[in-house]
Amino acid sequence: MKRQRRGILRILRNLFRRREAELELDAEVRSYVRMVEEERIAKGMSGAEAHRTAMREFGGVEQVKQAVRDRRAGAGMEQLWMDMRYGARQLWRSPGFTATVLFTLALSIGANTAIFSIVNALMLTRLPYAHPERLGTIYTRITGPISEDERHHINGEQWELLRDRVPALISAISNGHATGVDMRAGSHVEYLHYSRVSAHYLDVLEIQPLMGRNFTKTEDLPNGAKVAILSYGLWQSTFESDPNIVGKPILLKGEPYTVVGVLPQGATTPIEADLYTTIQASQNGEGGGTNFTDITRLRDGATWQEADAEINRAWLARHSRYEPQGAAVSYYSVPLQKGETEAVRPQATGLMLAAGFILLIASANLAGLTLVRMMRRGPEMATRLALGASRWQVRRQIWVEHLMLALLGGAAGVLVGYGALRELIVLLPEHYLPTASVPLDGRVLLFTLAVSVVTSVLFGMLPALALRDFDLRSALASRGMHGGDRIGVRQALIAGEVALTVVLLAGSGLLIRSLVHLETLPPGFDATGVMTAKAPLDDVRYRDSAEFRKLMDEGTAAMRQIPGVKYAAVGLSVPYERALNDGITLSEGPNAGTQVMSGMVYVTPEYFQALQMRLLAGRYFTDSDGPDTEPVVIVNQTFARKFFHGENPIGRHIEKNMRIVGVVADVPIEPGLEVLAPLMSEESIYEPAAQQNAQGLTLVHTWFQPDWIVRTRGPVDGLTGQMQKALASVDPNLPFSGFYSMKDLQAKALATQRVEVALLSAMAGLALLLSAVGIFALVANVVAQKTREIGIRMALGSTLKRAMVHVGAPGVRASAAGLVLGLLLCSVALRAMRSVLYGVGVYDGPTIMATVAVLALVTVAAGAAPALRIAKIDPAATLREE
């Protein structure tokens, strides 16, 4: 240890006191020589003779000094420093090369840094809770005719069994995601996101409140006390860090809640809500369906195997079990992180792969560039070798230069990556990433460093190999290394990068085609001129169905008064949104008596006119379909086809006494039953809002904020403000939480697809740009090398066009080979994309054609640009040269 420290001190001293050390060495050497001289003079030699012989015996003052310097501690560093200075000068002297390399590295490493940051945040960074390895969630594995293996929501009965009969775990549930709510505290009204959680939710995460306490078991019982826990942010902003907040009342959904706790700063939950209340789950109502998301913590001393065994045993005791016929169902715990990130993992992995492609493409380009540069530097290296530098020294110099480029490029890449990441996060839909933040932490920086070094090795390997069979004599004789035989290597590199580019282009092409397909689904309604707005109706007042009907009638009437508004209506959901899923018993028809799942939308009478949904049979609802008249229902086409097999459903009944009075066209919605695409039509029924009972309203309004819909004749100035005013005239305490045109809702539903398209297209564009640079550089190099040959050709009567084709051919040939290779690669690689493609196959003619066309265009452009330079070649001048 002591020895090491002394060694380091010496290195530092030698580095910083180099001048002094030099002077001292010089004095020592001189005094030695003098003493030898004096000896000789004392023996009778003349002064000049003594000096000459002493110097000869010494054997070269500089060599001895250098030998001492080389032995000195830190000598390697000194040489490295010299190499770096020399390298920096070399790079400075060829700004075009340096700029191209740095630009390429900044983009490719930047892309990798940004994507890796997300992968890091999603999969590598541990969850921000104590002992995250003891946190889990429950997966359902179904094997049989239908196979599944994923995280399922659980129902009230499962929850109670999990809570009471699985002692190996501390378990908790939440309603899954934060929803909007109006909070009133004093005179202050605020719209914020809240979530309902069970008693031990925060205990499972091991979050202790900053103030107050977590929820108690009795508070979580049905009809328990109404209590709330605030996030640190909400407490700080809205409550101005009130130190006496615990025990104070706030008004949520029109009901008083008591604040019992405040979360500590920086504490997050998987839900990230502003405010938490108790879920008060039971086996009825919300708990009657699978509406809860579970999280678990392994108790000390227990194992996951024990926990899984207990879960399976406990859930066998259920009264109502959903099990597909002939299928075996089992449950098992997985780490919470896996459960939370499962959905976005394939995308993240795919993007990482694409980013890796970019890096390979960039490396291929850089290898080509550095190879050319090495050939140009042939004379310089030959000179150094001739002057006594070892091959190792020359090679080390080259590696140092590459490493410097890579590190500079890496630093630029971090900046680019940071910028790209910020943009990316803005682009992502809210709560798309199940993590609070995507930091550029030490691991990301380490990754970038590693990527930079690997890149420099990748692109530095080729020139280093080229140096191996470097012939000193021929290099000194000619003006540069012979490049003719290297064209083949560079062509191979370009073919390789073009092949990868083709895969990325085709992949993004398929995603674009999918998005276009989804965006142009037959709508079944008219989206233009429609504005929708959402307001939460979970206020305690609207649990009364008469109050609710009054709000519907008066609210829509007030909106109809807005000048330019043609129709006004309310619906529980609209097209492009998710519909409520409900179990419905068919009372007639071929499947009479069976219960089926269907979408359910309650609507006010003008809903269908407001959306211009086509009526295929029967009638729309009218104002006379009220609480005291016969229950009626309208079904959509899919419902009719699926459950009535083409028979006319009008006049048939469901749920015993609900008579089907109409059939409307299908509209695309976010499916909730069988998710085959992000937007598709789904079997749905429409019920009159006026015929909803209080119990049902209370339940659906805990999950859904109904949409207020107006159709205008043309554009209306200040429409949203007027809608808000109209609603306020009926209920002043009911602010809209947002206004959306149908286009907005469609975009929202397809947000994930848009992000995928944007990201992969950006990658493909980057790859294309890099490939173009590669082809450009190759052809430019051919032009530079063959100037003389072209001069002769043109002097002998070749046309400009033929000369251009002659020099451009290697680039075009390489690109064509890459294209073929890429298409072959596509046929294998793109199969992995099948699950994210909609309405388009993996082997899609138009996509392949577009890919070929884009690549051909870029190849010709990148090849023609430098080839045009030969127009400036003066045959006479080139022939005179040399």
Binding site: R6, E28, V29, V36, E38, E57, G59
Partner: protein, 110 residues
């Protein structure tokens, strides 16, 4: 063998320098002359080997150096064994004696 002085095994040169300094401090030329003397003229250590070795051994902590006056009142850099240097000398001496003994008996055996 004098011309092969630069090809001396590093360990041999180190031990020679240590032994040369065992009797007291010497400047560079003094070390060179002392080695010549104690090896009865077999080893002529040239500056090209001597200086790097002295500097290296100083960095290793076996030698310490200071500037002093030579016999002819000339400023010269003197080297001296440190405690670590003395210990090193003992170790290397013992090793060399083993090797030398082994070599001697090996040569006798033929």
């Amino acid at each position: 063998m004098g011309d092969n002085a630069t090809n001396l095994l590093q360990g041999t040169l180190d031990l020679l320098i240590l032994r040369a300094l065992a009797t007291g401090e010497l400047h560079g030329l003094g070390v060179s002359r002392r080695i010549e003397q104690i090896t009865k003229g077999t080893f002529l250590v040239k500056p090209g080997s001597l200086f790097p070795a002295l500097h290296r051994m100083e960095e290793a902590g076996w030698l310490s150096s200071f500037w002093g006056e030579s016999e002819n009142n000339r400023r010269a850099k003197y080297y001296k064994l440190t405690k670590a240097g003395k210990a090193q000398m003992e170790v290397e001496t013992e090793q060399w004696q083993k090797v030398a003994g082994a070599m001697a008996s090996a040569l006798k055996a033929v």
